[in-house]
Symmetry: none
Subunit: 130 residues, 4 copies
DNA sequence: GTGGTCTAGACCACG
DNA sequence: GTGGTCTAGACCACC
């Protein structure tokens, strides 16, 4: 089971926070392809969230290709299929573009960003659970 | 005048899109400190948005320290004050942390991210207008 | 529920008057951290103000760290985080500086101010509702 | 002549800033009763502000009983007449009440406020010009 | 149910 | 002319 909080930061939608936590667990190797993913009912109890919210989390992760549902049986973590090259480029440009602009308006230098980005990847490996 | 779209992507708040466009103009040097910023009414006409929405854009940018209002006269682009060191660190960790996770779940390597990040900064200088 | 007026003084923005009333309720202990804060719609009905105005009140108090929104569920009073030392000093100097000048031009002595200030703090405890 | 800036803080109405500067000059003894107060034309030139704004400053100070106009001749600083006892009480309660609430929500203790208030009065005497 | 965004249009204070 | 406030009412996403 991945280490979910029961407390959520205010201001961001709950389901997004859970989706992110799941992604982090996957990215850090805490949950691996083939691992069983909690059912909507389980998730809803564990995290004390509304079943609708839990349902949305699962749907979102399926949408992004990170979960595979074997209906009536189980839900399983899946290695995300390689993105289409064009979609990948769009995503890369979009996210780094935003980051660059936000950093620039805050007077943050590219080097600082690179350094911190490495630190973040490092932390994913060394500190898998939040 | 900065190059504003009149068409807005669905899903993201209009005022946020405009705020981002303004930030990009500032980050790229298209709008420099001391430059006059379009008035609420001008913006509202140019972008064909409601004056209240335009007002919110201005308010947000003032809040973030990027605009300075000389009441009744004009609104002027301002060099953002240096962030508090602690706030800066929080922002850096938060944004790179998210980026790292999202990249990892998409099977994107750190190197690709670094490369694209540099490209984004480069593009800010070479292609200021969207 | 905190004791809101339905009548507002002219000259000061309605939303600011409501913000102040809410702060007073918090300062006096009438509303404590963890208490539920009226929803935008409730406030709008109770005070007979436009929902947008009520919304602005909530947003302002969140901004100042006095409210916490649990999206879709409730809005809750929060213990304000301790101010940064530098910000605190700036606020103190600014507000007492103004007060000293205004008092001096009215021929009011420092002692009177001190006495009344204590009285105001006292009244916060003894007479929470306006 | 009192030491007026030509630069004004953004966000606050210009005329209010000038009125306050004048009051501070009076409170600190820099301008004393009987001293000549600059004419609208002079003020407008010295401070590089709109004559309408300068006019409003004078009007406001007359209103508050701090200036006396000898029409066509000169404008003179005047010792403010003693306030009516009831008006004084209202002003005292109002201003200390606000201060107490704002301080309380910021976690500032009464003692800090008293100390800073004394410091502000002290500074009025020792550093008359802003 | 909740907060948040957006439009439309009026009004005010300020310069 | 400027920014700011307020009202009225609609729509959306989230829980």
């Amino acid at each position: 089971m991945f280490p979910f909080n029961t407390s959520f930061a205010p201001g961001e939608a709950v389901y997004e926070q859970v989706v992110f936590a799941a992604k982090r667990a996957m990215a850090s190797g805490l949950m691996r392809p083939g691992d069983r993913f909690p059912s909507v009912r389980q998730m809803s109890q564990m995290l004390k969230i509304n079943p609708n919210t839990a349902q949305k989390v699962t749907a979102r992760l399926v949408e992004e290709g990170l979960l595979e549902i074997h209906p009536g049986i189980e839900t399983v973590v899946r290695k995300a299929p390689p993105m289409e090259e064009s979609a990948k480029r769009r995503w890369l440009e979009e996210s780094t573009g935003r980051l660059a602009v936000e950093a620039a308006t805050r007077g943050i230098l590219p080097e600082e960003l690179h350094r911190e980005l490495d630190a973040s990847f490092e932390q994913l490996k060394t500190t898998p659970n939040l």
